[in-house]
Symmetry: C2
Subunit: 424 residues, 2 copies
Amino acid sequence: MNSMRGLCAIRGNLAFAPAPGALTTIADGYILTRDGIVEGVFNRLPPHCQAEVINYGDSIITPAFTDMHLHAPQFPMLGLGMDLQLLDWLNVYTFPMEARFGNLEYAKTVYRQLAKELIRRGTTRVCAFSSLHREATHVLMEQLEKAGVTGYVGKVNMDRNSSPELMETTEESLAETRRFIQECNVYPHLKPIITPRFTPSCTDTLLEGLGKLAEEFPEVPIQSHLSENPDEIAWVRDLHPDCQEYWQTYHKFGLWKRGTIMAHCVHSSPEERAAMKEHGIWAVHCPDSNTNVASGIAPLRRMLEEGLQVGLGSDIAGGAKLSMPDVATEAIRVSKLRWLLSGKEEAFLTVREAFYLITTAGQAYFGAKPGFGQGEPLHAVVFNDSRFAYNPAITLEERLERILYLGDKATISAVYSAGRLVEI
Amino acid sequence: MNSMRGLCAIRGNLAFAPAPGALTTIADGYILTRDGIVEGVFNRLPPHCQAEVINYGDSIITPAFTDMHLHAPQFPMLGLGMDLQLLDWLNVYTFPMEARFGNLEYAKTVYRQLAKELIRRGTTRVCAFSSLHREATHVLMEQLEKAGVTGYVGKVNMDRNSSPELMETTEESLAETRRFIQECNVYPHLKPIITPRFTPSCTDTLLEGLGKLAEEFPEVPIQSHLSENPDEIAWVRDLHPDCQEYWQTYHKFGLWKRGTIMAHCVHSSPEERAAMKEHGIWAVHCPDSNTNVASGIAPLRRMLEEGLQVGLGSDIAGGAKLSMPDVATEAIRVSKLRWLLSGKEEAFLTVREAFYLITTAGQAYFGAKPGFGQGEPLHAVVFNDSRFAYNPAITLEERLERILYLGDKATISAVYSAGRLVEI
C-alpha cells in the first residue's frame, strides 16, 4: 500500500456521475491530490504545478465502487445452491456455511481471499454482514483493513429460527454486540454497524436490546433485510401480528432510524416505501440476488422517482457476482424486464444511472461528495480497456459502457482507496 | 495446434450431461482418444493401455460449448448501445458497424480477435452470421479455422430496409450467396449456411431465390430470426398480409426445413411452436440479448416440454456475453423471473439443464452424441478452479455449478476442438 505523500497528479481519461443520469468525462484529465486528499479535477494542470504525475495514458479512471450489501462469510458459496429458493437456500447452504466461522483459521483464509477480490474488482467501500461470531468478525475487519477496503461491518444477531450450530442466546447476542462495538476503535477505515439478520431470526427481546444499543451508540448505524420474498413477509406477519407491515417490526424497537440500511425491498408496499423516505432509510437494490433466489424484480424506478435513497449491493452469495459493474448491468437487465412487465410504465435504468448508483449514490452513504470529491481521500479505479475488441470509433462514454458490461477484473490496472494506492 | 497423434488418455474430473436434467461425473477419469477420436470414457485406464497420459490433475473436464447464434461482425460493439431497443439499436449501431466489413483489413483484425476469444471461452462450435460481404465472410472463416472453431457460417442476405451503406441488390445477393456456397469447400471444419437476415430485410424475390438455392444445395442448412419483438412481428404482418404468422413467411419460400435454425422465438404462438416441431426446426434461445434489447423472456420451459429442439446462443452483440457458461446462467436467471411471472407454472431451468443446453443439446445439431461421444473427434474444455474461494466441502457437481456461474476465462486452462489441442 502506497500512501501518496505530497502532491500527486493522476492523469487519464476521467469519468464520473455528478448527478443521476448525468456523466462528466474529461479526456486526458488530472486528479490532483495532496497526501491522498483530492485537491481538484482539471483538464490540464495548473501552471507551475510541482505535482508528481502518475500517468495512466489512455486508461479510464472512475470513482471506486461501493457495495452496500454483502454477506462476507458466504463468499465460499458464490455461485452455489442456485437451484434453491430463499428459505431452503438459507437452511441447506447458508447457515451450515456461516457456522464454520467459529474456526478463526478458516475465517482468515476466506476473508483474506474476499478482501483481495473486492479490491481487484474496484470495490473500496462496503456495508458488510459478517457471521454471528464476534472474533471472526474482527478477522474480517483485519483482512479488509489490510487489503484497503473501507466501510461498515456488522456482527450478525440471530437468536431463533437458525440451525443448531449457528445460534446464540439473547444475552450472548447483546453482550457480544456491545463488546464488538467497543472493540472497533482500533480500525482506521472500518466502523461497526448493528446487524440483526432479519426479523424472523431475532426475538423481540433481542430486537429491543439492539434498539437500546443503537440509542446508546448513536454514531453506529443499523443494517438488515426487508420485504425480500412473499413467504418471508407472511412469516413476519405471523410473528408480529401487531404490525401491519414488515418495516414496523424494526420501527417499534428503535431500529428504523436515519441512515438505517434495508436490503432488497422487492415487495415493499407504497406505504413501506413512504416510511423509508420519511425516516431517511436507505434501500439497497440487489438485482442478481433477487433473481437467483427468485424473489422478484424490485421497483427501482419507483424508488428513485419517490426520492428514496438507493444504493446497489452484490448480496453475495444470493448474488453470484461480486463485481459492482456486473451488479450494475444486472440492475439494468432486470429493469428492462420490469419495464416490459409494467406495460412500459416504469422506465428502465440507463447505463448512466447504473454507473451513478455504484459510485456517487453509494459513496453518499459515507458522506462523500459526487465523483472525486474535493477535500476527500481519493477512491478511484483505473481501467485499461486496450484488450477489448478493436473498435476505433468509440467515445469515452461508450468505453465506460463497455467496461461496465464486459467488466473483466483483468481490465482493472490500479485501485486507490482512502487516499492510498492499494495492491491488486 | 496439436493434432493428438496416436493413443492419448486425458485425465481429470469428467462432467457431462447424458440427457436433459442428468449429469454424469467421474472423479479422476480418463478420456481415451486415438488420433483425436474418442475411444471411450473410463474410471480407470484399461489394463496394459499404452496411451500417453495428459494429466490435468484436479481440474474439471467438460465437453466444449456450442454457440448456436452469434453475429460475428458485431463483436466490436459488445456491451455498447444498451440503452436502445432492437430496431433503433440496429439502425444506430449495428448496420453502420457491419458496413465496415467491406474493408478486409478491418475484418481480419476483428475476426482474429473474435476467433481467439471464442476458443478462450471454450466455444468450439458455432452457427454464425457474418455481414453481407462475401469476401469478409471468407476472412471470418479463415480466422475461425486458424483458431480451431468449427461449425456453420453464413453470408447475410439483405436487399431492403437497411442503411444505404449496407445493402445489396437482389441479383447481387443471390449471385454472391451461390458463389459463397461453392467456395466453401476449402474449409476442413466449417460449412456454409443460408442466412437471410430476417423477413423485413429481404424482398420476396430474394427469399424465393434463397429457397431455390436451399433446394439446389440440400446439404446447406438455413438460419434466420423469428418472433423476437412485437414491433418486428407487426412489421412482418404488414409486409406479408397473406401470412397469418411470421414462420409462414419463411415456409412459403422453402426456407422452413428440417435443420433450419430460428433465433429467439420469444413471442412465438403455440401454433408457431407446433410448426417448428412438425418441421424439425431448431429454436435458439438467446436470453442475454432478449433482455438487453428488451424483447422479453422466451418460453423456454414450454419449448422443452413441447419437445422442440432447442439450443442456446450468445447473440452477440445484442447479447453482451460471449461466454456460453455466462449465457447458460443468464438463461437460468430469466427462467426464474418467468417462473415467478407465470404464477410458478413454468418451472425454472436448473443448473443441470442449462449445462445440457450448451453442451449435449448444441452438439446434437452437429450430429454429435451426448458427452464425449465415442467415435467422434474430441471437443473438450479443461477448467482449473483452484483460484476460486476456499471451500473444502464441495462436490464435483457443485464445482461445475460454480464454474458456470463465476465463469472467468482465466479458469479455462486447455481447449480441445475437433480432435486437436488448440491454443488459448
